[in-house]
Symmetry: none
Subunit: 401 residues, 2 copies
Amino acid sequence: MNQHELLKECSLKNDKKILFCVVDGLGGIQKDGKTELEVARTPNMDQLAKDGSCGLHIPVIPGIAPGSGPAHLALFGYDPLQFLVGRGILAALGGGLDVREGDVCARVNFCTVDEQGVVTDRRAGRIPTEKGEQLCATILSKLPPIPGVELQLKAIKQYRAALVLRGAGLGDALNDSDPMKPGLPHLEITGRDAASEKTARILQEFVRHVREILKEESPANMISLRGFGIHKPYPRFQELYKLTPAAIAAYPAYKGVARLVGMDVLDCGKTFDEEIACLQNNWEHYDFHFIHYKDPDAAGEDGNFEKRVELFEYFDSKLPTLRALNPDVLIVTGDHCTPAVCSDHSGHSVPLVICGGLQRNDSVQTFTEEALLRGSLGIMQSEHILTMAMAHAGKLKRFGP
Amino acid sequence: MNQHELLKECSLKNDKKILFCVVDGLGGIQKDGKTELEVARTPNMDQLAKDGSCGLHIPVIPGIAPGSGPAHLALFGYDPLQFLVGRGILAALGGGLDVREGDVCARVNFCTVDEQGVVTDRRAGRIPTEKGEQLCATILSKLPPIPGVELQLKAIKQYRAALVLRGAGLGDALNDSDPMKPGLPHLEITGRDAASEKTARILQEFVRHVREILKEESPANMISLRGFGIHKPYPRFQELYKLTPAAIAAYPAYKGVARLVGMDVLDCGKTFDEEIACLQNNWEHYDFHFIHYKDPDAAGEDGNFEKRVELFEYFDSKLPTLRALNPDVLIVTGDHCTPAVCSDHSGHSVPLVICGGLQRNDSVQTFTEEALLRGSLGIMQSEHILTMAMAHAGKLKRFGP
């Protein structure tokens, strides 16, 4: 029996509400002797640590820094080494394209090539989103039908777009066309099995047409494709947990991973304040809300320690509003750490509080990496957080006789 | 995707150096209220605990006391329940025999039998190593060819030797011939499948010849065979971690397990001081060094608490020399505990410090089992130590989109 079978057997529906609040990139390492959380003044997070069960968690294995996809899958209780997620599927689902079983998805970049086809700018000068939308419309209006395949192309943000191919017998054993650094030509897309060879021929034809359509454009006169993946539906969150889940996330990738597990993705604006308003407006309609706060991750990737301190303090100021909704169980954690010192996601354990319901208290008084280490949850796998929260909410029955 | 596939995908080469220092049998349990580490004066290990990330680790599952083979495989990141290692293979590789895929290996004991073939001494009075070498030479010079098989026999230490059979279609589903206690005759070696039956007949013929060759010898007038195993190459350490690894271990078994994963095994003398000299001499040539300090394990098996205290203090005195090499990441840990109270390996968690690079500090001040428990690494699986050290050294890229 695996964890999902166990959950299906043990989960039960009641009227308790769980609020799962993900502060992207929460948790750091010391700079001049202190971590971001140790410097930040966070009285409300400290109070939450006092009130709840504390600990830390490991997204994959210690040391492995996950991308947003695997990190969120782990938070939702999906083993990220079993449920591998491709960049293309995340882009397509995040962009709200209609993705069905068997469709091939890819992440698209608008880029700049010279007359010889050498990539001079992989991001086409980071064109604005509106330009990307206009280019997608142009391509779709001029593209001749390609036999055997239905095609969706949609702008996501700036130079990013997503592509979905639908047709019989497609494959995804395909190489990226993006050379990943400027000064090189695009790679010819080829397939490593029969179905993928067929798909590669379709993609080659598509790319040829796009090049022709965009040839007078500047700077975005070409596209690259990467992260090919065939969509296979995941076990549905609803069926595992018997929850009615809503996802509130401004950024496409997080919408994507929420859609992947079957959550209702709410239209929530662009800022964390707008997300909170969306949460308040939809509070009655769901018994599980996932709300995502992106900014601390971006500041971490920029190596901006002080900014992260500010953003944690900002989040702290919003926490009373979240608690005022009176969730029966409130989870506050990150998907992974993004220490400013690393300027990148890291593989350190991630701060965690689960507050409310049938909880074991501990004597943790502050929301810092080291203080949380003394909590009653210890260091756990991310994959088990939600099961623990379900237990807090009385949503699990006994396993076995 | 399993851990090894994950490592292959995420590991990257840079110029950082990792020093992995294994103090065999490190970590104990209390005698008169204190553990060996709590009694020992270890200012340098305490300083390392202050400087690094602290924790403990579990080689297999809590309570399971591993042998040297599985314990070191776990330290090297090989799941010891998946990568089972036989005594014969460890003996053959440790002894420096030429072992190739498909070879059958066995551990050999010289022993004493009476006229009826009853074993009177399983270790032939612990004959000196030179005598073992001489007996092996005698056997090889007088042994007639055995059809279908090429054979290596090599003395290891005292009464111990190793045997390697090479030939087509050999099997290793074979019982040991060693009765494991005196007063019993040797067991006839039989095979549990067709390939192993063929191999058993070869081994029976070999043993008959050896008995004839040794019949005038005393006390070593016979051999026993055990721990049969066919060698299947392991995933190479180099390919998993993109490291260039050297092993510095005076004792054969540790050379064996290092060879098993593909490390360069350096010629390092017999004492820890000689090992350290070897490390210094080879420091520039590798980016990963495994150095092994054996003595505390032997003292633990002897139940000698005070000796272990002394040996930990001795190790402590050498730690500044190791740190003077300026490894980018230094790991100091054990393969398992050998508490003097147990007079044996034990299944308790093993002390661990990983120091250097992108580390999360903690407030641990002393290198003792209880103090380390408050460290930022928590209690982890041994299998993940090296991944964490790789992260400290910036040798892992992000997993997934």
